[in-house]
Amino acid sequence: MRAWFGENVPKDWVKRRDEEESMLGRFEYLRGWQRKLYDAGWAGISWPKDFGGRGAPVMEQVIFIEEMARAEAPPMANVIALGLIGPTIIAFGTPEQKKRYLAKMLSAEEIWCQGFSEPNAGSDLAALSTTGVLDGDHFVVNGQKCWTSYAWAADWCELIVRTDPAAPKHKGLTALLVDMHSPGVEVRGLKQMSGESEFGEIFFRDVRVPMANVVGKVNEGWGVAMGTLMHERGTFGAALQVNYKRNFNRLVEIAKHIDRNGKPAAQDPVIRQKLAQCYAEIEVMRLNQLRAFSRINETGVPGPEGSIQKIFWSELNQRFQQVAMEILGPYGQLAHGSPNAFDEGQWAYGYLRSRGNTIEAGTSEIQRNIIGHFVLGLPKSY
């Protein structure tokens, strides 16, 4: 694996990431890289062999991630499919669904998004109101999803809809696999504070989804959605360490070239303390992930303690980005296109983007509710 990375990791990724103006251009670049990984058999290490994976134990997936980090390789494009929806289909899907979707997730031929949050259902996800009404052998879907990452690039969507309005809110939901190219699907970009439109809104107007695209059972979609979210909280962060380590190393380099009190910032005792704390926390995040994967290896599924990883990676990144701002001083605020900006303004972007970390994939508050109730056994607060 290490040898393959040595020969194949593109050297121009960071430059491309920083210089490329269009989100789509960056995305297509990562799509090409994922295809290369897929062709070499690395894209789905712990996924079943029959569906394009390697059928290896989940711990080999961890080794793969660590080697990605070591090689400073670019991330893969189809992250929502690989991290969240693929594992959900492996756990809950029919043999036909596995055959139809999994390999194309790995090859990045079909990009996926996750249609969960709605304007009036964020932390209270089960309050969602997008409906699916049975009509023959199809569900007819109407409603709106928002904060959907990669909606603009997606070919498919794992969509949670209400199929039994009379049932208690957790009991009337169904998980559907929806073709984003179906008539009646409209995607609009949602501009974020960081200036990009990585998220989007999706509008569904009389979209017909075949019954064959139900994941799990009708009206048992909450369990499927929870399965997806457990992966999002528990294991999704593992891939982030690739970025975190690279960002840390780069910040150390910068600290050697920016002065503070008449000497390089990297020699300033206060800055050294802060950098070392970031290093320690990135290590602890990696080790927490390793333990989480080991438990999945034994039990097959991530548990509610995955909320620890979600809190850890999101809050750590916010602390790290703030340390970067302190080291960069007046340079930190410079945006893409400014003269003299470090790394084409990536640090200003990263700082703003990190504010979303403690909101996306379940807010820190919701994660602490989950830990309190499901892990520590405290009474439900809501």
């Binding site: 150390v252 050294r272 950098l275 070392a276 290093y279 320690a280 620890i308 850890f312 520590l376 405290l378």
Partner: protein, 355 residues
């Protein structure tokens, strides 16, 4: 590749938990901490019979010949039970003797026949072995743990420009108590006035032996802190489930619940770092010194923060003498300081990863 305890390690851990639950319940902790030395001969003998004192030392030196992960598992359970006395100072001394090749003396510490400690810190209060200045056995050492109950004291000293480790019989030196926050472990000022001493090792090898012994005892301490954190959290969470205000258990309020969630995050994260450091020590990996400092830097802050929350969640009850939390809280502060606090270990990390 699997990050978890093996079956035999789990057995060792669960046996240790049962042992300390039976031999060292909180009533015993409170009784022993009221004694002069907080070191109980009967408990020590039973721990020796279990092989706990020599877990990580080679079998030919009277130990069990196990690895640092096993040591961490044992230490975690000891932290959970707040076992009072000289376990860590004895381990520190044993590890120094082992690194110095003094197998004969090591056997006595591993089998419980004698106990040992290490006199390292001086008035400059630095945990850096390079900061040892006391000339050959004339002067004062401070913060020496369990010196009064120890039979043997390993002394770090400096001959001319060379570092050295000596072995001294405890009765040959004057020991003055330094009453401190942790009631379960005693600190002493030790005065040396040319006592009879055996030179164990000198020069760069002495510095290395001391560094190694510090790593061993720091890893054990980090695991022990994890156990203490777990216990503080368990006590606070239990209280939050039963204590009612405004007609509801206080643990139902998010302001309280989220503090409990933070305790879990700190505890599990400290546990990951401690066991990984132990693993790198067993592997003899080049990464071990960094991993040890990551574990101690993290645990030092996390243990204090967990204690702060445990007291806060229990309100007025958490602030009382009869509640056990303060005993763990006191230990947490002593442990945070011991072998270098977070600031000390962050600077070590900076040397490893920045310079």
């Amino acid at each position: 590749m699997q990050f978890g305890l093996s079956e035999s390690q789990q057995i060792l851990k669960s046996n240790a938990r049962k042992f300390f639950a039976a031999e060292c319940p909180m009533s015993e902790v409170r009784r022993i901490m009221e004694t002069d030395t907080a070191q109980d001969k009967k408990l020590w003998r039973s721990m020796a019979e279990q092989g706990f004192l020599g877990v990580v030392f080679p079998e030919e030196a009277g130990g069990m010949g196990l690895g640092f992960v096993e040591l961490a598992a044992l230490a975690e359970e000891m932290g959970r039970a707040l076992v009072p006395g000289a376990f860590l100072s004895n381990l520190f001394a044993g590890a120094a003797l082992h690194a110095a090749g003094a197998t004969k003396h090591l056997a006595a510490l591993a089998n419980g026949e004698k106990t040992g400690t290490v006199a390292m810190l001086e008035a400059n209060a630095s945990w850096d072995p390079a900061a040892v200045h006391m000339p050959t056995l004339a002067g004062e050492k401070l913060f020496v743990p369990d010196a009064a109950s120890a039979d043997l004291i390993i002394v770090a000293a400096r001959d001319a420009s060379k570092q050295a480790l000596y072995l001294v019989e405890s009765h040959a030196v004057e020991k003055i108590p330094m009453p401190a926050m942790d009631l379960t472990r005693r600190l002493y000022k030790v005065k040396f006035d040319h006592p009879a001493a055996e030179l164990l090792i000198e020069g760069d090898a002495a510095r290395q032996a001391l560094e190694h012994a510090l790593s061993v005892v720091t890893v054990a301490l980090c695991a022990e802190m994890t156990g203490g954190m777990q216990r503080m959290m368990d006590i606070a969470v239990e209280y939050a489930k039963t204590r009612k205000q405004f007609g509801k258990p206080i643990g139902q309020y998010q302001a309280v619940q989220h503090q409990c969630a933070d305790m879990l995050l700190y505890t599990e994260s400290a546990r990951s770092a401690a066991y990984y450091a132990a693993y790198t020590m067993t592997e003899g990996s080049a990464e071990a010194p960094t991993a040890v400092s990551v574990a101690k830097a993290y645990a030092s802050d996390a243990c204090r923060e967990t204690g702060n929350r445990a007291v806060q969640v229990q309100g007025g009850m958490g602030f009382t003498w009869e509640n056990d939390t303060h005993l763990f809280y006191r230990r947490a502060k002593a442990s945070e300081i011991a072998f270098g606090d977070a600031t000390y270990h962050r600077e070590r990390i900076a040397k490893f990863v920045i310079d």
